[in-house]
């Protein structure tokens, strides 16, 4: 008895409430997105919102199971869980079924299940386990390479399933590495890579090369001009130039036609409103037409009448924007930012490195989804098909995010236990 009360009293209520609010809001918007006069009942399981109701109920059950599980279970079996999901990813490549171009689904009867969703928290667990070992030193090659393998393995397998979006999610673990001591220069370098890539695509490689050469020249006068620094500078400059041209080459020769078009549409170089640009354009129209206060619950027309594709999954934010307007968008974005900050704050108060690293992993994954998903609906990021955590319709994704978050909640609740 004493044990139980203790267990629930240590749970962070803020996180649980944020989770419940988001899941509920998600359901309301799925209901609105697919609502039609003939199917008003909220538990009609022939409709997505009826199914989502079941997913929510089962997620709550999963959450409860996790809270009742011993916290040490996850750290103990972290590698085992990771190994399991890698195995599943391999199996799905062999026997999985294809849904809209990605071979990433197991189908058992009418029940579908995407191992890639679960690989995310498994990878977070594995990384947490790795960093909770004693001797972490980023100067050691081993410390740098092993986390990259943990991240890269599932990413490559998912890439092979032809699900680029989910593979990209693994780059979010850079946040964990950063927190664990990876030099901030890598974050800067990452940002620089994105900037160089984008500007190459927009203005062509020549201008970019000229620009980085200029910047290197300026830098030359500010650094200590010893031999090492000069060599480094030249190396970076050459790398940058090489990267610029390889971006150009990759886009022209490696990327598929549709990926190229998507990028061009995003950059405003193409106006392909019937093809690749259609989704983003319709999505922006739906959100933009919401105005300040929105059109009201069930009054959205763009989402309901299917002008926006995938309106209950990847483009669920359109319903928020259209029916609840800027105010609704503000609420949703605030909820996400609050959740993320809360997770970081809680992660920092952990005594165990495992919980801390895992917390950063959770925040990274959720943040990446949030940034890519909403960014794509408002035309700031290329269309990359990944769900909006807790909002998007879908059992696998909701379960995976629930497990992801509740393992952290469980670890946090257990933070005072003896290590």
């Amino acid at each position: 008895m004493r044990e139980r009360r203790n267990l629930f009293s240590n749970i962070d209520v803020t996180l649980v409430v944020l989770y419940l609010v988001m899941v509920l809001l998600g359901w309301v918007n799925i209901y609105a997105a697919v609502y039609d006069e003939d199917h008003r009942s909220i538990i009609d399981i022939s409709q997505s919102y009826g199914k989502q109701m079941i997913f929510i109920a089962s997620s709550l059950f999963i959450a409860l199971v996790i809270l009742l599980t011993d916290a040490r279970f996850f750290s103990t079996f972290a590698y085992a869980i990771y190994g399991m999901t890698i195995f599943l990813l391999l199996v799905v490549l062999a026997v999985g079924s294809e849904v809209s171009g990605s071979k990433s689904w197991f189908h058992i009867g009418s029940f579908g299940f995407q191992p890639a969703e679960f690989a995310k928290f498994a990878t977070a667990l594995a990384l947490a386990r790795f960093f909770s070992a004693q001797h972490i030193n980023f100067r050691e090659f081993r410390t740098r390479i092993i986390p990259l393998v943990f991240m890269g393995l599932p990413a490559v397998l998912i890439l092979l399933q032809n699900d680029t979006g989910s593979a990209l999610v693994y780059s979010s673990f850079i946040l964990v590495l950063y927190r664990m001591g990876l030099s901030g220069n890598y974050l800067l370098a990452g940002a620089l890579i994105v900037v160089i890539a984008l500007s190459t695509l927009m203005v062509g490689p020549i201008y970019v090369v000229v620009l980085i050469t200029l910047m290197a020249g300026i830098l030359f006068f500010f650094i200590k001009r010893n031999r090492r620094n000069i060599i480094n500078l030249i190396a970076i400059l050459l790398l940058g130039i090489g990267f610029t041209y390889s971006v150009e080459y990759a886009v022209e020769n490696v990327l598929g036609e549709h990926q190229k078009t998507r990028i061009n549409v995003l950059l405003g170089k193409e106006m392909d409103l019937k093809g690749a640009g259609y989704n983003v354009n319709q999505s922006k129209i739906a959100i933009g037409s919401g105005g300040f206060a929105g059109k009201g619950f069930l009054n959205g027309t763009q989402t309901k009448y299917n002008f926006v594709p995938e309106q209950s999954t990847d483009f669920i934010f359109c319903t928020v924007g259209e029916e609840w307007g800027f105010l609704g968008s503000l609420v949703v974005i605030s909820l996400f930012i609050s959740l993320l900050i809360r997770i970081i704050l809680l992660a920092e108060r952990q005594r165990s490195d495992f919980s801390k690293v895992y917390g950063y992993g959770v925040a990274g994954i959720i943040f990446f989804h949030f940034m890519i998903n909403i960014g794509m609906t408002i035309g700031l990021v290329p269309v990359i098909g990944i769900p909006l955590p807790f909002f998007s319709y879908g059992g696998s994704s909701l379960w995976a995010f629930t497990i992801l978050l509740f393992i952290f909640i469980k670890q946090d609740a257990n933070r005072n236990a003896l290590l």
């Binding site: 972490i136 030193n137 946040l175 950063y178 927190r179 664990m180 001591g181 901030g184 974050l187 319709q282 922006k284 129209i285 739906a286 959100i287 933009g288 037409s289 919401g290 105005g291 300040f292 027309t301 763009q302 309901k304 009448y305 299917n306 002008f307 924007g321 259209e322 307007g325 800027f326 968008s329 503000l330 974005i333 605030s334 996400f336 930012i337 993320l340 900050i341 970081i344 704050l345 992660a347 920092e348 950063y360 925040a363 943040f367 949030f370 940034m371 909403i374 960014g375 408002i378 700031l380």
Partner: protein
């Protein structure tokens, strides 16, 4: 490694979250609150404005007889993406089109859009629709859209009513009221009263989904408006007289215009050859229009207003009126006539000589009227031949010649009363005189009049000096609202001079060229004309009004290439007058003669 230093990295991480959140909120604020174009795009996506076409106003004759009404037709529309598994053979049979025709239409529709409806077959008949309706469920993707087209219970008044057609891009550019697919009056009453007849288009706002499927009305139809039917027109036309005239003119080229002198109301207005107005309606219109426009006898030409003819002898009274007004002619004036040997214009009739104005009108004496004209031009009190001519012309034009009368019908010609400048141009200034332009004395030469102008001049005679601008519409709408007022135009000739000329016209009917076609108990005043023309046989003309006192009808009849005025135009005019005043024609032999007379 200093854990404290690393712990501070959470601030960087949190900062990244906040920056992204902030950027997204700014972007959202921009597209949701600042930029309004997205709202517009959303409306374009989802709202479909469906025009509700009103029926055009009905048209009645002066006695309340319905002459023009509307019939429902159905435009067969197709939504290509919904068409599947249909029995093409049967469909083609029902519509009476070939398989190639079907394929062609489908291709056109698909090219336009697979998701938007396009016109498959215009205006299918009620009968076809009847067949089709029962089997419609077997032809998914097809549906009908009701429209109305004109229908004419009597095949008369083609030139009067004009016709209705689809608007062209030019009309749309000129008047933003019209949208592609609208109907518009192209000619006749349909054109001049377009704004009254067309009604007010309604609008239904429907919501559609991405596949253009209807999903309901916008805000429960709060912004919908119903179509309002056009207003009815009540014409001054007497349908019975009109029909009788058209029968009499069968087989002849020419025109008949009858006017009620006291009001300027047009009683009959016809041009021959004519055609059944039902031919220029609906889907057969373009085919028939082509046939009619290629016909050598020009049935589409509205000779009543757009045909110009030399008035010939019907113009002689006009010269007499000017002479009387200018004091150069009176009841005692006598000129001699040498008959066929007269110079410069010989006389074609045998009569006493010398003779006065009454006999000259009665006998249509050419030399007498030449003398009158010569006196006006040569001896007029305006200080010179040219000035005298200008004065003469002003008088003539005040009687409604040489300019448009301004009726409520479209495409009226001015006719021609040549200006002094015109003669200056031909002969040189100062090098022409009465002799040079002598043909004008007997209504030949450059003078041209329309049948409408000639009928109007008969009305001026009947009114002894003025006319009301002739028009065909008496009342508009339920309350018979008056159309734009039609002016009373007073001529420059005093009433007393008209009495003299009218006496001459009365003698024409009793003793002169028209004496064989008197109507029992109705005194007719008239004047025949036999107009030479460069295109063939003489035109036969007659203008008249009746009864002499308290005139009820003024009429002009012109029959092309029909010879003497007294052989064709006169009998037809007399029958028309008898029909209008007595409502019944007793002179069956004359009627028979005219009905059987075929001139082309």
């Amino acid at each position: 490694m200093a854990n404290r230093t690393l712990a501070s990295r959470r601030q960087t991480v949190i900062a990244i979250f906040l920056v992204i959140g902030f950027i997204y909120l700014v972007r959202l604020f921009y597209i949701q609150v600042v930029d309004k174009s997205y709202t517009l795009s959303a409306n374009n996506n989802v709202l479909r404005y469906v025009t509700q076409y009103p029926a055009r106003g009905l048209i009645y004759d002066r006695n309340g007889l319905l002459l023009v009404y509307n019939e429902a037709v159905y435009d067969l529309m197709v939504l290509p993406r919904q068409v599947k598994d249909i029995d093409t053979t049967e469909f083609c049979r029902l519509l009476d089109i070939t398989r190639e025709g079907f394929a062609e239409r489908m291709e056109k529709a698909v090219t336009y859009s697979r998701y938007k409806p396009s016109l498959f077959e215009k205006q299918i008949s009620k009968e076809t629709y009847g067949y089709l309706e029962e089997k419609m469920y077997r032809f998914p993707g097809f549906f009908v859209q009701p429209r109305t087209i004109r229908f004419y219970p009597k095949p008369i008044g083609a030139h009067l009513f004009g016709y209705v057609g689809e608007v062209t891009q030019g009309m749309i550019d000129k008047n933003p009221y019209y949208k592609s697919g609208d109907y518009i009056g192209i000619s006749g009453i349909e054109k001049s009263y377009e704004e009254v007849l067309r009604g007010i288009k309604g609008m239904k706002i429907k919501m559609v989904d991405v596949h253009n499927r209807e999903v309901g009305s916008f805000q429960e139809g709060r912004f919908d408006s119903a179509a309002i039917m056009g207003e009815d027109l009540y014409l001054s036309i007497d349908a019975e007289l009109q029909e009788y005239g058209e029968q009499l003119m069968k087989g002849k080229m020419g025109s008949v215009v009858a006017i009620e002198p006291s009001t300027g109301e047009i009683l009959a207005f016809l041009s021959s050859p004519s055609y059944d107005p039902n031919l220029l309606v609906g889907r057969v219109r373009s085919k028939n229009y082509r046939l009619l426009s290629e016909d050598a006898v020009k049935p589409l030409l509205n000779r009543a207003m757009a045909g110009t003819y030399p008035p010939g002898s019907t113009f002689k009274m006009v010269n007499d009126l000017v002479g009387l007004q200018e004091g150069l002619l009176d009841l005692h004036t006598r000129y001699s006539c040498q008959g066929k040997t007269s110079s410069p214009i010989r006389c074609t009739h045998t009569h006493q000589s010398p003779l006065g104005v009454l006999t000259a009108i009665e006998q249509s004496c050419n030399p007498f009227h030449w003398q009158v004209f010569r006196t006006i031009i040569t001896n007029g009190g305006y200080g010179g031949i040219r000035s005298n001519y200008v004065a003469w012309r002003n008088h003539v034009m005040s009687l409604g010649f040489g300019h448009k009368l301004g009726t409520d019908l479209q495409f009226e010609l001015s006719g021609n009363i040549p200006s002094a400048e015109k003669f200056d141009g031909i002969y040189g200034k100062g090098h022409w005189n009465a002799l040079t332009i002598r043909s004008l004395s007997i209504g030949q030469g450059e003078i041209l009049v329309t049948p409408l102008q000639l009928a109007n001049s008969a009305a001026v005679m009947a009114n002894r000096g003025y006319y009301i601008v002739p028009h065909v519409v008496k009342g508009i709408g339920e309350k018979h609202r008056k159309p734009a007022s039609f002016n009373k135009v007073v001529s420059t000739i005093d009433k007393k001079h008209f009495e003299i000329v009218v006496d001459g016209m009365r003698q024409v009917a009793t003793m002169g060229t028209a004496r064989w076609f008197q109507i029992d108990s109705v005194t007719m005043c008239g004047k025949t004309g036999t107009a030479e023309n460069p295109h063939g046989d003489d035109h036969s003309l007659f203008m008249a009004f009746a009864p002499a006192d308290n005139p009820k009808i003024a009429i002009a009849v012109i029959v092309e290439n029909a010879g003497f005025g007294s052989t064709t135009a006169l009998p037809i005019a007399s029958l028309m007058i008898e029909k209008y005043i007595k409502r019944k024609v007793l002179r069956k032999d004359v009627e028979e003669d005219m009905l059987n007379k075929k001139l082309y």
